[in-house]
Structures are given as C-alpha cells and as structure tokens.
C-alpha cells in the first residue's frame, strides 16, 4: 500500500503549495523520509474538509526550498527536519540553525545514514 501523492520537482514546489493554499487547504505537516540512495524524500500533507492530499518531493542535495513564505506555520517542522536530517531550507524564518532540539554541529543529524538496527546504534 502506498500513499497517492503528486510527484513534484523542487523548482515547482512553492507554486504547487501556493495553489493548494488558494483552494483553502490547511497545512498539516511535512514528513521527511530517508531514500535508498543518499538523498531524502519529502512528503507535504494538506487537509481539506477531512480529506488529505499529498505532495512528494525527492531531494538529492542538501538544499530544499522553504514554504514558510506561504504557510508561516511550516517554520517549526522545517526546523525539525533541519535538526533531524541535516538538510537546509532556503528562506526559512526563523531559522534555528539546527538548534531547535539539538546542539547543532556537535552531533551528526540522527536520521542520516542507513536505516535498520545497525544504523540506529
């Protein structure tokens, strides 16, 4: 079973999110998932009258465009992803610079690296 999500490129993310806002969608959250290769996959969840719609974005580098300018509420979850995955959101306000939960540069981002029991220890 997989979630039906519209696949988008990072260039068109902001436009797609703004279009959803136009339709009156409530921003739910962003989920970041480790991809098999070095990159990560972002899922943007939106709710409209109890039904969810999703956007799927594959990130290859470290940089992701921030959607804070459209949904200000995204600042918290984007900062969290910066802490956990070591990604960098461009245009994020306020930017805690990986100190939302953790100590910043001291520790490597916990969700980086291979999954499974070996990666967890």
């Amino acid at each position: 079973m997989t979630i039906t999500a519209d696949r988008i490129e990072s260039g068109e993310l902001c436009r797609a999110v703004a279009a959803l806002k136009e339709q009156g969608c409530r921003f739910v959250t962003i989920t970041c998932v480790r991809a098999d290769s070095a990159g990560a996959e972002m899922l943007y969840h939106f709710d409209r009258e109890l039904s969810l719609s999703h956007l799927r974005l594959t990130v290859s580098g470290d940089e992701v465009p921030s959607i804070c300018g459209i949904y200000a509420a995204a600042f918290l979850v984007e900062n969290e992803i910066q802490d956990h995955f070591g990604l960098c959101f461009s245009g994020l306000i306020p930017d805690y610079r990986r100190t939302l939960y953790l100590q910043g540069e001291d520790s490597p981002p916990p969700f980086r690296g291979p999954s499974g029991p070996a990666g967890g220890q």
Binding site: M1, T2, I3, K21, G24, R26, F27, V28, T29, T31, C32, V33, R34, L43, H45, D47, L50, L52, H54, Y71, A72, A73, F75, L76, V77, H84, P94, T99, L100, Y101, L102, P110, F111, S115, G116, P117, G119, G120, Q121
Partner: protein, 358 residues
C-alpha cells in the same frame, strides 16, 4: 518599564511545560515572543529503528502521558490498515470508551491548569478532584491511571464486564454532577470572563493558515473534528463537533467545557451499544507499505506516517502531534497582550511540549 526581557520557562511555576519564551515587554505589554525548544527531546521516532513494530506501541504511548491511549490507537489503526486486519466490533467500541475517558481527564486537567494560570486556585483543586474519578476508572479498567496500554494491533488487551460498565456509568453520573456544579463558574464568573474574553484572539482564517487543529480550530468557527472520519466505532455513534465563533481564550474554554459533556454522552452511547464477542483478532505477518493514520486527540488532530518494508523494524515513523500544529499560532497570539495574560493565552492552546518534541 521599557524594553524588559522576561525569561519565561522552561521551568516556570505557572507553566507546566518545559517551553522557553523570551518575552520582550514594554509597560507589561508583550512586544515580541520567541519560543525555544529542546528541553525534553527524546528521539522516539528514531527508536523505531531498534524496537520492532509491536514494541513501538508501548513507545508511542510515551510520546505524551495525557493522550497516551490515543497515540497507541492511531498507531495501531495505521498498522491494522497496512496489514489488512479488521479489529472486532467489541474492540472498536472499547477503544471509543477509553478514548473518551482520556479526553475527559485531559480536558479536566487542562481546565484546572487554565484556572490556575489565572490565579483561581480553588477552581483548579475542584476540577482535579472531579478528574480523580476518571483516573480511578482508568486504573480499575485498564490497570494504569495515565498510560493505559490497552491497544494491540488487532484489538484491545482488556475487556469490561457488566459490573464494570455499570460502575463506570454510576461514576460518570457523579462526574457529570461535579462538572455541572462548576459550569456556572467557568462560563459566567465575572473574574474568569475578565481574564479570558478577547484575549489571544484568532480568526478562523488565521487559524486555518497557521494549521491549527482541534479545539483551537473549533473555537473559531471551523467544525473540524477527526472523529468525523469514523475510526474505531465513532461512525456508529451520534455526535456533532462543538463549535464556537469568537476564537478567544473564553471560546476555547467553552469548547473544551462542552466537550466534557459530549465525551460523557459518547461513553454512555458506547456502553449502551457495546456488542458482544472477541476483543482482539490474532495478527500474523509483518507490515509493508506506507500509510497516514489520523485520530482526534484531546488537543486536536494527531497524524502518524508509517513506512514499513516487511521487516521487523519500521522504515520511518513520523508523529505529528496536535501541539506541534498549534504552537506556530502563538507567534501571532502573544504580541500585544498583557504580561499577566501570557500564561492564560499560552495555556489556552493546551500545550504539550513532550508531544511537540517527542
């Protein structure tokens, strides 16, 4: 006083949560508020890497003490959907009963803390006195006061006999009486109204833009309630979301107060319709695929994203708790209010920081 910075939290007697706010105030009016987190971050999502998916039930219960049962419920419902398991009807009704008991005790706890935030100590004590009956029901039926640990994939772990359901109903009648005795104070007392009316106002449009959930949304005219999705046995029970229009602290207080009565009613309905039969079905195999599960917690919508690969451990477990969605709204609610109203407005979102940080 011009330009004083008041450090608020993470250990502040009026704020029961480890959240830090730097409040810049002028003549006791808040100019800006910057939140800081990270005091109780435990990395529970990461724990999914080394605990198998069944053990994770007990882990997600500990995301938040107050909504523990509904966390486990959301997680189990997600996995059930992934594994194609249908819990038996009796289990679905029992899940509603425990969910609503959780909502009752959480809202009573919140109302008490809210009263304490505005210096109404006797109301706080009184509400917690009533809450104690709910905690007793929890302990007698599930074994624990707070972390009920009743959910498994495929059903529930404990059953209720007729003696217990009868006792729950009689206790609930007492709780109902206790709540009604407090109703006029909470809804009509002059000092309470003075402290809550027109404080921390959020319009429906703003609340939607800031992604607010639960009572925060319902207090400003948006009838959003995840229970309408009909999970567990909610599809067979009769209820309508409580909605208020004003969007201030008083409206949030009214919503949560009205939900107390609604929860009692739902438990009565569920006990009345409780079907006979098994409380769980055996579950074999391992989950595979990805899914989003949602449920309504006392604080609002809770979202679980589960990605499994057919192995013992989950690929990714993402938990979006209701407080996490409600905190951004604080950045627009706090500036412009009096310092004395900061605890009231802050508590009106029913913050749960251990939820937020996981």
């Amino acid at each position: 006083m011009a330009g004083t910075v008041i450090p608020f939290g993470p250990q502040h007697p009026v704020l029961p949560e480890p959240l830090h706010l730097n409040l810049k105030i002028e003549d006791e009016i808040v100019i800006s508020a910057t939140p800081a987190f990270g005091y109780v971050h435990r990395g529970l999502e990461k724990l999914a890497d080394i605990r198998d998916f069944r053990q994770m039930i007990q882990v997600v219960e500990r995301v938040c003490g107050i909504c523990s049962m509904i966390h486990a419920l959301t997680y189990c419902q997600g996995l059930e959907a992934l594994m194609g398991v249908e819990p038996p009807p009796r289990a679905r009704f029992l899940r509603v009963i425990w969910s609503e008991l959780h909502r009752l005790h959480s809202h009573l706890l919140w109302l008490g803390l809210f009263a304490d935030a505005m210096g109404f100590e006797s109301l706080f004590m009184q509400l917690w006195k009533v809450r104690e009956r709910i905690m007793d029901i929890n302990e007698a039926t599930a074994g624990n006061r707070v972390i009920l640990s009743v959910n498994v994939i495929g059903g529930v772990r404990r059953d209720l006999d007729t003696g217990q359901t009868g006792w729950i109903l009689s206790e609930l009648a007492e709780v109902d009486k206790g709540i009604k005795a407090m109703g006029r104070t909470i809804l009509h007392d002059y000092t309470v109204q003075k402290r809550t009316r027109g404080k921390g106002v959020l319009s429906g449009k703003q609340a939607m833009e800031f992604g607010c959930v639960g009572p925060m949304l319902r207090s400003c005219g948006v009838a959003q309630d995840m229970r309408l999705l009909g999970y567990a046995a909610y599809c067979e029970l009769d209820f309508a979301p409580v909605v208020e229009q004003d969007g201030d602290c008083y409206a949030r207080c009214r919503v949560r107060f009205a939900e107390l009565g609604q929860s009692i009613d739902l438990i009565r309905q569920a006990i009345g319709k409780l079907p006979t039969g098994d409380i769980s079905v055996p579950v074999k195999g391992r989950p595979e695929g990805e899914i989003v599960a949602r449920a309504e917690q006392p604080r609002g919508e809770c979202l679980y994203y589960i990605k499994a690969n057919g192995g013992k451990f989950l690929d990714r477990l993402r938990i979006r708790t209701p407080t996490f969605a409600n905190i951004p709204a604080l950045t627009v609610m706090l500036p412009g209010i009096e310092l004395a109203d900061v605890p009231v407005v802050l508590l009106s979102i029913d913050p749960c920081i251990s939820c937020t940080e996981r």
